[in-house]
């Protein structure tokens, strides 16, 4: 045993070195690794998707006895082809932090007391019932996450929307993906990317829009660099608001003033038209032109509401609209030279080049998030560079199942697994599959995420159940929402794996099974559904989030809707869920197929995955005989939108003279509640910091590592300065990673959002700096 255990450790040591090598030399491969692996006879390997980012790398988890001891990339998974990033390689260590939550706790006389989990589940069911009796069905809410497994989100929606009849179901993906959804819906009438990661190997040009992929989607970035090395004439452009590792590895880095990506995208379209690079037949046959409302607000006030009013326009109207966006005019708005704008346009416009655009939070956490998604689609539509290998506008996700659980299951207030609550047909379908009386589902959406926490503060919501997310670190303008959650007569249940600032405000804490301690599925950025088994047992009384909800549902009298046995519930539940998507536009693979493969892309029709949608060559849902069929829209045509540049909700002024942008680092995932418990990741990045431009630092008299106070109209945080570190912001901008709960940067950020998607903008608010 001793010898074998030592072999495991050596395996883990070698894996760790290879992970580091891969971050230094993207695309590096070690065939000799097999020799060492052979020494570790006691490890059995089982497939799973990685726990962390939305790339969705396939991993093989090495298990010894009841314990996960090692990770390697799954060579059968086309996402990563055996590669992983440093977080993936060390992911299993996140299961074994000393302070794992293993028992339930309930607040009694002001104190959290350990109780059997059954008692905690009784308390939750009783509280839901009591709250509904006293304040009505819309006083109870569920707040989940893009880290929910698909079954977690499905049972949450079924219980709250179906059985309880309230549309108070939201997930943190509202704060990370909602603009991508509304971007797709408004441009194409249907959600999720048309392309897939294979676009990377086909593309001649890749433009990253406000997306530091080297740190946030490192395995995909490695694929980009490997493709450039192999094909030689591949160009990577980094279009961003600060210089990062991605900028350094790109062929060209272009910096723009925050929010002016709107103007840049319009200027690119202006140039494409001016130079005659428009794909005329594509435009004629596959697009229509539209405009919507302008000056649409920022949602900073309670009860804010907005409804767009689309109007048809002609190509000529669109051309006239673009006259305000000549490269010379946009240079003044954006800080990007007219020459660089023309260069970008020439790359998109060159008919011999295949172009893929990638984006993630930079475009989605944006007060005009829907618009900027529309505008980048415009570029691809004008040039006809879409839905073919290498030609892809591609919105990436940040969480492992933002697509699978939130966008596909529909765990947002207005959504159902199929369609939206406002549509009778969609409600009827859900009521039928869920075996509920007609009229059970309310046709009115209630609160989107920011408004849901405002409702908790106001008292419109009295009970909230939070699963797999940490809003007391991540809500923008955090002070207001923490105070709101702590008010008298609010009841908060938190299901999680470790203590966090969110469990600190809870009245009940449920210990949750984490990742491979339960069976489930995730859905990644490229429409890939990935199944994993329960590979190791959960500790103590920890229970999957799915089963927690089922237990409460049964206590509330919904046994008929949740009939499954604890030994076998994921398979039947998946087959029930799959009925919602039983059509060639979204058909999902069967449970059996998912179990056998390292991920399957939908639409999965007649045993075949769909790589590129809307193109009849690849997509069986398309009308035969047409070259492209954007079937989300009734006439099969995609929409080109005239959307103007409008400024951010809050821009620097005399008093608050810096832009603040927040984000992530490669070592830590989101709020760090898991990765900060992995020693090697914690040691590599032990605390958060504020990146300051060296000249600004000099003006302030601050040197590297010295403390700086960041002050906004909403709060302050004091942290160490990082000057000429990993990232360098331009003058007048600072950047702070949000992984560290000791420095709550969201007490400083602003809760402004895109009026269409309701996604908050974490990338732009005004602050001032004070030397401490």
């Amino acid at each position: 045993m001793k010898v074998n255990r030592r072999s495991f450790i050596k395996s883990a040591a070698a894996t760790s070195a290879m992970a580091t090598a891969a971050s230094l030399f993207p695309g590096v491969s070690f065939a000799g690794w097999k020799k060492l692996e052979g020494a570790s006879g006691m490890i059995s390997w089982q497939k799973a998707p990685c726990r962390f980012c939305g790339t969705g790398c396939g991993v093989l988890v090495g298990v010894s006895g009841d314990r996960a001891v090692a990770v390697k990339g799954d060579p059968n998974c086309s996402v990563n082809k055996g590669l992983c990033c440093i977080k993936g390689y060390h992911s299993v260590q996140a299961l074994y932090g000393k302070d794992r939550l293993t028992k339930a706790k309930v607040r009694k006389n002001g104190k959290m007391v350990t109780v059997p989990i059954k008692e905690a589940l009784d308390v939750i069911a009783a509280k839901i019932k009591e709250t509904i009796d006293k304040h009505g069905k819309d006083s109870v809410a569920m707040y989940g996450s893009g880290q929910w497994t698909i079954p977690d989100g499905y049972v949450a929606s079924k219980l709250f929307k179906g059985c309880l009849g309230t549309n108070n179901v939201e997930a943190n993906a509202r704060l990370c993906m909602a603009s991508a959804v509304t971007g797709f819906m408004t441009s194409f009438g249907i959600d999720e990317p048309m392309g897939c990661y294979e676009d990377i190997e086909h593309a001649d040009v890749m433009v990253t829009w406000g997306n530091n992929m080297a740190e946030m989607h490192p395995v995909l970035f490695s694929r980009m660099l490997a493709s450039r090395k192999r094909k030689k004439d591949v160009t990577i452009i980094d279009l961003a608001t600060r210089t990062t590792r991605s900028s350094q590895a790109s062929d060209k880095s272009i910096l723009f003033i925050p929010n002016t990506d709107l103007a840049i995208a319009n200027a690119i379209c202006y140039e494409i038209i001016r130079n005659g690079w428009v794909n005329k037949s594509f435009i004629k046959n596959h697009t229509t032109f539209h405009k919507g409302k302008t000056n649409i607000g920022y949602g900073t006030e309670d009860h804010f509401s907005f409804k767009d009013k689309p109007e048809d326009i002609s190509f000529q109207d669109y051309k006239n609209f673009l006259k305000d966006y000549t490269p010379e005019k946009v240079e003044k708005i954006s800080g990007v030279s007219a020459r660089d704008i023309k260069y970008l346009a020439s790359l998109y416009g060159d008919p011999t080049k295949k172009v893929t655009s990638f984006w993630c939070m930079g475009m989605n956490q944006h007060v005009r998030g829907t618009w900027i998604n529309n505008l980048v689609y415009n570029i691809h539509l004008l040039t006809g560079k879409i839905s073919t290998p290498g030609n892809s506008p591609f919105s990436l996700t940040g969480q492992p199942s933002a697509c699978g659980t939130v966008r596909e299951v529909g765990t947002l207030t207005h959504k159902l697994p199929y369609g939206v609550v406002m549509k009778q047909k969609a409600r009827e379908k859900a009521e039928k599959i869920w075996d509920l009386p007609a009229g059970s589902i309310d046709p009115k959406p209630t609160y989107h995420t920011v408004e849901m926490f405002r409702a908790l503060d106001r008292g419109d919501i009295r009970f909230m159940w939070i699963q797999v997310t940490n809003p007391m670190v991540t809500m923008p303008n955090l002070n207001r929402y923490r105070n709101g959650a702590l008010r008298e007569d609010r009841f908060v249940v938190v299901s999680d794996v470790y203590p966090t600032p969110t469990t600190d405000i809870a009245d009940v804490i449920l210990p949750a099974a984490m990742w491979i301690e339960q069976e489930g599925m995730y859905g990644n950025s490229e429409r890939r559904t990935q199944h994993f088994d329960e590979i190791v047992p959960p500790p103590g009384e920890a229970m999957s989030d799915t089963w927690q909800i089922i237990e409460v549902a049964r206590r509330l009298g919904f046994k008929k809707q949740f009939p499954w046995s604890k030994d076998d519930y994921i398979g039947p539940l998946w087959e029930e869920y799959r009925r919602f998507h039983d059509n060639p536009k979204h058909n999902m693979a069967s449970y059996k197929v998912l179990k056998a493969r390292s991920g399957v892309q939908w639409p999965f029709v007649n045993g075949k995955e769909t790589r590129w949608r809307f193109n009849p060559k690849y997509d069986p849902a398309c009308k035969k005989g047409s070259k492209f069929d954007f079937y989300g829209k009734k006439d099969g045509k995609a929409w080109i939108w005239a959307r103007p540049y409008e400024p951010a909700a809050e821009s620097p002024d005399q008093e608050y003279n810096f832009w603040l942008c927040t984000g992530r680092v490669i070592e830590h995932w989101h709020t760090g509640s898991m990765t900060r418990r992995v020693p090697i990741l914690h040691e590599a990045m032990p605390e958060s910091y504020v990146e300051i431009n060296p000249e600004d630092a000099m003006d302030l008299g601050v040197v590297n590592g010295e403390k700086v106070k960041i002050v906004s109209r909403r709060g302050t945080v004091t942290m160490k300065a990082s000057i000429n570190g990993r990232g360098v912001p331009p003058r007048g901008t600072v950047f702070v990673p949000f992984f560290d709960e000791s420095y709550l940067i969201n007490e400083v950020t602003l809760d402004a959002f895109c009026p269409i998607s309701k996604q908050a903008d974490y990338k732009k608010c005004a602050v001032r700096l004070e030397k401490v």
Binding site: S16, A17, F30, G32, W33, L36, R67, Q93, R677
Partner: protein, 88 residues
């Protein structure tokens, strides 16, 4: 009983020679990248002193340009939280 791993960067053109030397040294196991001039080295020594001595030897290798440690494990000491091995 320390187990450590490193990314080893050889001097220009010396990858194969370094690989040979490392694999001939006691307590060392090295393997090369197929497509880059780097190696991964895993060392497994019986105690801290031997590890120290080995490290000094490594630092003096003429074919080695740099050595970056990526993993450290020593079961002479109690393990830290979350290292994934406690209780085995």
């Amino acid at each position: 009983m320390p187990v450590l791993s490193y990314v080893a960067i050889p001097r220009s053109g010396a990858k194969n020679e370094l690989l040979k030397v490392l694999n001939s040294m006691e307590y060392c196991e090295a393997f090369p990248a197929d497509n880059e001039d780097i190696l991964v080295l895993v060392t497994d020594t019986p105690d801290k002193n031997t590890d120290k001595e080995l490290h000094a030897q490594l630092e003096n290798l003429p074919t080695l340009e740099s050595l970056s440690m990526t993993f450290g494990y020593n079961d002479e000491q109690p393990l830290g939280e979350g290292d994934g091995y406690e209780g085995q």
